[in-house]
Amino acid sequence: MEDLTSLKQEQENQEPGKAGPPWEGKTAASPQSPEPESSEPLEEELGPDIGPQPRSRPPWSPQSKVITSLGDPKEPGASSSPASLQEPSPTPSPLALSREDLVAALRSDRTASVTLEAGTLHSDPLEQSPDKRESTPHHTGQPEANTFQQSQQPKSHVCGSTDVSYSNSKQKELRFHTFQEEDSNSEHELDQLRPGASEAVPSVLDTAIQNAKAYLLKTSSKSGLNLYDHLSSMLTKILDERPENAVDIIENISQDVKMAHFSKKLDTLQNEKEMLPTYEIAEKQKALFLQGHLEGVDQELEDEIAENSLPNVMESAFYFEQAGIGLGTDETYRIFLALKQLTDTHPIQRCRFWGKILGLEKNYIVAEVEFREGEDEEEVEEEDVAEERDNGESEADEDEEDELPKSFYKAPQAIPKEESRTGANKYVYFVCNEPGTSWVKLPSVTPAQIVIARKIKKFFTGQLDAPIISYPPFPGNESNYLRAQIARISAGTHISPLGFYQFGEEEGEEEEEVEGGRDSFEENTDFEGIQVIDLVESLSNWVHHVQHILPQGRCNWFNPIQKNEEEEEEEDEEKEEEKGEEPEFIEPEVGPPLLTPISEDLEIQNIPPWTTRLSSNLVPQYAIAVLRSNRWPGAYAFSNGNVRSSAELERELSCQSSH
């Protein structure tokens, strides 16, 4: 007996962690030798064992039968089994139990291994009673702990008394069997036992196993899964993937396996809804890349190369990247292609990537564009419409004045916006939300909008028709506000090295000065470039090449009194009193003239308006000079001596002070 047990112990210990079939093979192998031996004792003890009902079902059912012989029959529950454990302290019953267990284990599969252990344990008491005495009291003293120790499953009603050392190895196997007690099973086993004979006992275990398996295969009413399949797929996954420290993430693996059941099946007819925007954008951007494939490619190629209105965005992006500013190479390339699309569809003389403005929901990509001569007729119409509206309003006011108490307040003359191509409206700006979407032209800016834009500070939402709710109320919606801010930023931060631009040497310079300064410049072909070091050290080497916007909101001073003189004839004489209060002569507002060095810029709260930096300290001979505006964070300009550019990457607009 002892040899038998030791043999089996070894077998058990050798294969602790394998799945079912090996166990069966193992147990199948083992029964052979001891079978003849144990059959006899089995028959002997079968009689008294049949009587009592098994407490808990499976492998330990034979044990429990014996145990329950002393206690109450037909009582399910783990609580009872530990209690029953205490009872069979006398040696003969454990011995009987052990033998029976052995036999039962021989003919059953994996579950038998446990009983085998239990059997081996109990077989020991005879030969090594002192050891067993120690262990059994240990077990009996802590039956519950032992029970739980065996399987560590709250629902297992094991009343077996497996040895601690075995239990550790066996628990792993056992854990995959969640055995639950069922009265019916125990009764079933009992019935099977009644016929007696040696065949009844192994079939008890067989049925126990089958019942266990049937339980595992029971499908859940909620999810349609069953535990057996789930456990086997989980184990398969673990064995396939072999993650590190699998025991730590076992719960997550289990969840993943469950979720995998509910994965969406790829439907060839319908597209996934969630990914639609991705595909849409991809389609639009694909169109960008396929622009060039039109008819008459050869001729268009020549035209394109000749016109050269498209800037080399990638080159500028390279220099900006040296300074750490950029949108990412592929994004920049898409913007490049979008600009190309813009120049193809509109008659554009010159085009430049102005920058990107971040908004709450969507962003704006802004292009600065100069139309060819005579190409902007649309704007003229808008102006006429605006003027008519103004006239209409003034007439309405006059009617009201007759009926209601006369209000002597006359709103200050609306300052007309500047002509297109001059002053703040020198360039036309197009925006789009993402490269690939269509470009939208921003309306021209009026001085009133600039004046109020100086006073408010709002985020951009990303939709051009969103209203701007602010105080003082902004006349216009988001597209106007955007245009006004663009005008302010351009006026404040577009700079170039000294000498890059020069004033045209044309006749009639003196006459132009009356209006407030020159407003045109041209590139200096003789420009030799300034050393990068010089550009960094001294701010006077940089000049603004965009006109400064006066407090009035225009670049060129507009005298509002001139028009008032015309309207005086329509007014009553009474009004002249109010008029008299107003100064008849308003001082023309003067701002720094064009091409003023930026060293003249005002400081903001003791902070210099510009920060200069070399792009790299490690390789200064190839570095470029980078200027960062402190008034408009996000405005950058660079120069490497010859090439120069400036761009703005604003973040929801923050104006440090009114400009």
Binding site: E274, A282, K458, R628, R651
Partner: protein, 276 residues
Amino acid sequence: MDAEGLLLSLELASGSGQGLGPDRRASLLTSLMLVKRDYRYDRVLFWGRILGLVSDYYIAQGVSEDQLAPRKTLYSLNCMEWSLLPPATEEMVAQTAVVKGRFMGDPSHEYEHTELQKVNEGEKVFEEEVVIQIKEETRLVSVIDQIDKTVAIIPRGALFKTPFGPTHVNRTFEGLSLSEAKKLSSYFHFREPVDLKNKTLLEKADLDPSLDFMDSLEHDIPKGSWSIQMERGNALVVLRSLLWPGLTFYHAPRTKNYGYIYVGTGEKNIDLPFML
């Protein structure tokens, strides 16, 4: 952002416009490796860049085994030599709250702040102007701490808490799904929870204690201080903080890539309620 995937992270976060030049990137890749080895951190995060007038500060943070433990902050002026910053204390934060304006870029620069303090001289009580010197390093520490406490975020499920206490990186985090990625409630503040106890029992019942142990962004004040955008169609979700302009958090849904970076002037946007 994790120093391990620095290049990809910078590419994903480039939508905000501010990034790093190639020389900085190259030096970061090497120096952050050395920092991790020398200080024996579990992970090194490149926190971001604070723009100063004279020069910029590059900030990195080291995370130990317990992800929620206070992180060590290091700064560098040239992305090569890193110096450890002292941990932030309440007094530091209170003291530097009075300093406004841009950072200079020189850690030893001292701000002068004049305060009227009551001085008792005998029986007389009169106010005297006291000039307090505040070092820029202190201000740097407190600003970084404030930004961390208010706007450093991670997606839900990226960290999980074990019953033993420490928080670990969740190895089975596969990324948020697209519908989750657009909701503010899927993102948590990367700090010890402050608000959790105030939740109602009903809300707590729905929480998963191993995953939902930090504050979510839903109840941030003021509402709307986060801007969620999907870039590249739905392939990238970018959250930008409006309270601390310059903080960008990016996450590619259904992948493990996420991170945040701060590139800005280090000034809080106090005008936020007016700008919304």
